[in-house]
């Protein structure tokens, strides 16, 4: 069970770590893919990553369809 999906738009605005629960998932989109976090439970929007020419390992990349599936399973979405 995913508790909250955090959709992060800008790395500089990354929410304080205490906001993130163990069952939460972080999805980096837009310019947030330029710098990856030091946590484990994160994924990056594949299209936004490839568009920016950033190298992120394939198992961390999610399509928009994947993002929708993650959102469906979560309790709620917070865009940050």
């Amino acid at each position: 069970m995913v508790n909250t999906v955090w959709i992060i738009k800008r790395m500089a605005d990354f929410p304080e770590l205490e906001l993130i629960d163990e069952e939460d998932i972080i999805i980096l989109i837009q310019d947030a893919v330029l710098r990856t976090p030091s946590l484990d439970n994160w994924y990056a929007c594949e299209e936004d990553t490839v568009a920016r020419g950033v190298k992120i390992s394939q198992d961390k990349l999610v399509s928009y369809a994947d993002i929708i599936d993650i959102i469906e399973k979560a309790n709620k979405v917070v865009v940050w």
């Binding site: 738009k9 299209e47 369809a65 993002i67 929708i68 599936d69 959102i71 469906e72 709620k76 979405v77």
Partner: protein, 100 residues
């Protein structure tokens, strides 16, 4: 899932791109997708991408106050609404994605 995407950013922005890609993926997964345009987001209502989403089944709403303010006259596939209308949509939605 009833998915509501609220766009308050101007078009030609990161958020515009994110909003249309998420809406399209939602429709492809057979979810019930609504988009609500407010503030500078109402400028998006003249973009082809939004019209195409409406044709694919996305329900498109906008804040009439913001559209008047910006002299935007949306086409008939977009439904005039208000902050109270948005409140109702939030009440009905399973998930809300706010982009501004």
């Amino acid at each position: 899932m009833k998915l509501l995407i609220v766009l308050a950013s101007n078009p030609y922005s990161h958020d515009f791109n994110t909003a249309i890609k998420l809406a399209r993926a939602g429709i492809e997964r057979n979810h019930n997708v609504s988009m609500f345009f407010m503030a500078n987001g109402v400028y998006s209502l003249v973009r082809e991408e939004i019209k195409n989403l409406a044709e694919l089944g996305v329900k498109v709403y906008y804040c009439a106050h913001n559209a008047n303010q910006r002299r935007i006259s949306p086409e008939s596939w977009a439904e005039s609404s208000s902050m109270y209308g948005l409140s109702k949509l939030v009440g009905e939605a399973d998930k809300v994605i706010m982009l501004d």
